[in-house]
């Protein structure tokens, strides 16, 4: 037998000033199931709450309706109130007679009539309310960070420093990522390696961090607090325990391939460490290009290795670990310039991408830090920098701005003037975007102190002209047609999401936007969360950003993880879907509409006549379900219901509100 108590709040004059409380009280008394009605000046006040607690006890109420402000305001307050009186928190219903009644309806009579209707509706629902309980779920307090660039490194270090275990997975033989390829960083011009390598070493040495290089995420199952991840440790063919990193093998290896790290400007061996400061500073065999693996003969590295660390028989290992949270920091790809033939990229050696140019600047790069033309090894006196190649280009590139090009080009112009005295940089731009601390100043320095020529205009064509390059463009400001003979052209190639971002998103059950960047849960308020609880984003994999932003986001993700790990266990949201086995036909249409992969198939045993038969029906994972209820409509027989918003409750509300 339901014994419902109704408590009508005046909210001072906010409600009582516009609505007729006494009428409401009188009406509420006649509502079926209602055994007690009272009113209070401020129900949310301690006195008001005490009144409810007392009434619950004195009149042994088992459902409570509070007519007051929006549930978005005080639902939790009042849930605590009824709990303190020994009731289940979900026995409470709130009739929103302030925001949605007294504040918006001037007509006293009509407003009161509506308020009564809202109370009747809340009473009708309350009569259907059932006790709901949050389930306690243990948390595996170990985090997985995917991607060993600056974002992943920062996230891993920050999580580890809070005292929790972290596994860092990097698919290349070394961590470091894109930042390791950079020479100097804007706007301070401090050397990238100098600030990155110490962090790389920290990662390697941190007792709480386990590093998996040359490894990839194979499979992800489970949910917040309890993910099960299978990691593929690719066969490195070099035993990291034995290898001393002496480098003998690197020198002797006979087969050469373009170095990814050097953007193909030079060649590396088939057995290689990507770059001198690599962590771990131990090689891996690139089996696709290794003579032994391709032809069956060679074994030079094995012969020369003093530590007998070479192991051709090594196989991929599948390791399965449990994690409580995951940070995705997989970075970005450089936009392919195949569609930009007009800039002669790939046709002329002295047309470079800015990352290739970055390598020329780098002391450990192919030219030892000297800016030299690949064609003739001469220092260029004039260099044209073309902005937005593949960015802000709806026609054949990315519609978005790559965000970092304006600033690193300013950096390149400055470094050019330093390294090649008397040289001249020309920058062709659409707009120069310098939003960021000290960025505008840095850009000013490029053209004021280093006399870089900034030309607003799109370059239409670049073609060889003797040993020079002819750059044709329009100076938008003067309107003049422009032809410049330069020694070198540097293209600010746009940034893309990783080519395989979609596959990873699928494994993680997170989403990507139309450009394959991972989507955040809310563009403003949850920028590091994903739709899937317990999985967070850091760095370029979520969208173009520079190093400071990347690091900030990585630390933010780390805090999110630490916040989860600060508890021993999680309380599940009790507003979740549930299956009525009797009604479920097992057609799984609920599963296809679930945004959270919370529904799966299960086999159940049933009595049919004398025998027991088994059949497949749907199953809800309460830990994954977020309680949207989309499944309840997809299910034709109404076999899946949403606790707290059941079909019965909503139909009762509909019936009551229409009276």
């Amino acid at each position: 037998m339901k014994r419902i108590g109704v408590f009508i709040c005046w909210c001072g004059s906010n409600i009582a000033g516009t609505l007729e409380i006494d009428k409401m009280v009188a009406a509420a008394k006649t509502m079926s199931g209602v055994v007690y009605v009272d009113q209070n000046k401020y129900t949310c006040s301690e006195i008001g709450q005490a009144m409810i607690r007392d009434a619950i006890k004195e009149y042994s109420l088992n459902r409570v309706v509070i007519a007051a402000c929006s549930p978005r305001m005080h639902e939790n307050t009042f849930r605590k109130t009824v709990v303190s009186a020994g009731l289940n928190p979900y026995y409470l219903e709130i009739a929103n007679i302030r925001e949605q009644c007294s504040w918006v309806h001037k007509d006293r009579e009509a407003g009161t009539a509506k308020a009564i209707s809202l109370i009747r509706t809340a009473v009708a629902k309350a009569a259907m309310n059932e006790a709901l309980f949050a389930v306690e779920m243990p948390i595996i307090r170990r985090a997985l960070v995917i991607g060993g660039g600056i974002a992943g490194i920062q996230a891993a270090l920050d999580i580890a420093d809070t005292g929790f275990e972290v596994d860092l997975v990097e698919r290349e033989p070394s961590i470091g990522g894109r930042m390791a390829q950079l020479d100097k960083t804007f706007p301070t011009l401090d050397c990238s390696a100098c600030i990155l390598t110490p962090k790389m070493v920290d990662v390697a040495q941190h007792e709480k961090i386990k590093l998996y290089t040359y490894a990839e995420v194979e499979k992800v199952e489970g949910y917040l607090g309890n993910f099960t991840v299978t990691i593929r440790q690719k066969a490195r063919s070099v035993d990291l325990q034995k290898c001393t990193g002496c480098g003998e093998c690197l020198a002797k290896c006979p087969s050469k391939v373009a170095s990814e790290f050097e953007e193909g400007l030079v060649q590396r061996r088939a057995i290689y460490t990507p770059f001198p400061q690599a962590v771990p500073n131990k090689p891996a065999i690139d089996r696709a290009h290794c003579r032994y693996f391709t032809s069956g003969k060679c074994k030079v590295c094995q012969k020369v290795c003093p530590a007998e660390a070479i192991d051709y028989a090594m196989e991929d290992l599948l390791l399965t670990n449990g994690y409580g949270a995951i940070v995705v920091a997989t970075g970005f790809d450089i936009h392919k310039l195949n569609d930009y033939g007009e800039y002669a990229y790939g046709k002329h050696p002295d047309v470079l991408t800015s990352l290739e140019f970055e390598r020329l600047l780098n002391a450990s790069g192919p030219t030892g830090g000297k800016i030299l033309r690949p064609s003739d090894g001469k220092a260029p006196e004039t260099v044209a920098f073309i902005q937005c190649v593949g960015s802000r280009d709806k026609a054949k590139g990315n519609p978005y701005c790559a965000k970092v090009c304006c600033m690193y080009t300013a950096k390149h112009a400055i470094l050019l003037s330093e390294k090649v005295p008397g040289s001249k940089a020309y920058v062709f731009y659409i707009d120069v975007r310098t939003a960021g601390k000290d960025y505008e100043e840095f850009y000013n320095r490029a053209y004021e102190e280093c006399n870089a020529g900034y030309i607003k205009g799109n370059v239409s064509k670049v073609f060889p002209d003797g040993d020079k390059l002819l750059v044709r463009s329009v100076d938008v400001l003067s309107g003049a047609l422009l032809e410049l003979r330069v020694d070198m052209v540097v293209l600010a190639a746009s940034v893309d999401a990783r080519a395989d971002a979609k596959e990873l998103a699928k494994k993680l059950a997170i989403t990507v936007n139309e450009h394959k960047f991972f989507t955040e849960a809310h563009p403003k308020l949850r920028p590091v969360d994903t739709q899937t609880a317990g999985i967070f984003l850091a760095g370029m994999c979520q969208g173009p950003k520079d190093i400071p932003e990347t690091v900030a986001q990585a630390s933010a993700a780390a805090v999110k993880v630490a916040a989860i790990f600060s508890k021993q266990s999680l309380l599940s949201n009790p507003i979740v879907a549930e299956i009525d086995q009797r009604l479920c036909s097992g057609d799984m249409s609920c599963m296809t509409v679930c945004p959270f992969n919370a529904i799966s198939e299960q086999v159940v045993e049933e009595r049919r006549g004398r025998e027991t038969v088994s059949r497949k029906i749907a199953k809800v994972n309460a830990a994954l379900c977020q309680g949207c209820g989309s499944c309840t409509v997809a299910c034709r027989p109404g076999a899946i219901n949403l606790k707290g918003f059941t079909d019965q409750q909503i139909l009762a509300e509909v019936d009551a509100i229409c009276l």
Binding site: A110, T632, V654
Partner: protein, 143 residues
Amino acid sequence: MPVTNEGFEPVIVAFCCNWCSYAGADLAGINRMSYSSNVRIIRVPCSSRVNPSFIIRAFQRGADGVLVTGCHPGDCHYHSGNFFTRRRLSVLKQLMEYLGIEPQRFQVRWISGSEGAKFAMVMNSVAEEIRRLGPNRKLRDVR
């Protein structure tokens, strides 16, 4: 020709998703933007929780108009809920019109948590349309 329904006070049931539209309704309240008191709100977690059966039921029980409101497509708190809502309720609405139910009787709108003014505006326009339309007789139980 314009029909006037003197003294007719329509009952309009609005299903509002908790995260956008219901918040929009609260915002309208906080800003004291008055709108028709004919509108009565039922709170649901997401517009995709609204079963067409709820809508028909409301009409049967005497609602003169039914309104379903949700987050703008793409802003769904549950990521894809309102995309399904859009398909389901498009199908339902076209079906109801095909069976001769006035288009204005049942409407779907996207109202975000920041669009208090829009909420009030929509409620008024819907209430006005229903008032002009007169009582729902087609879908109402004879009881």
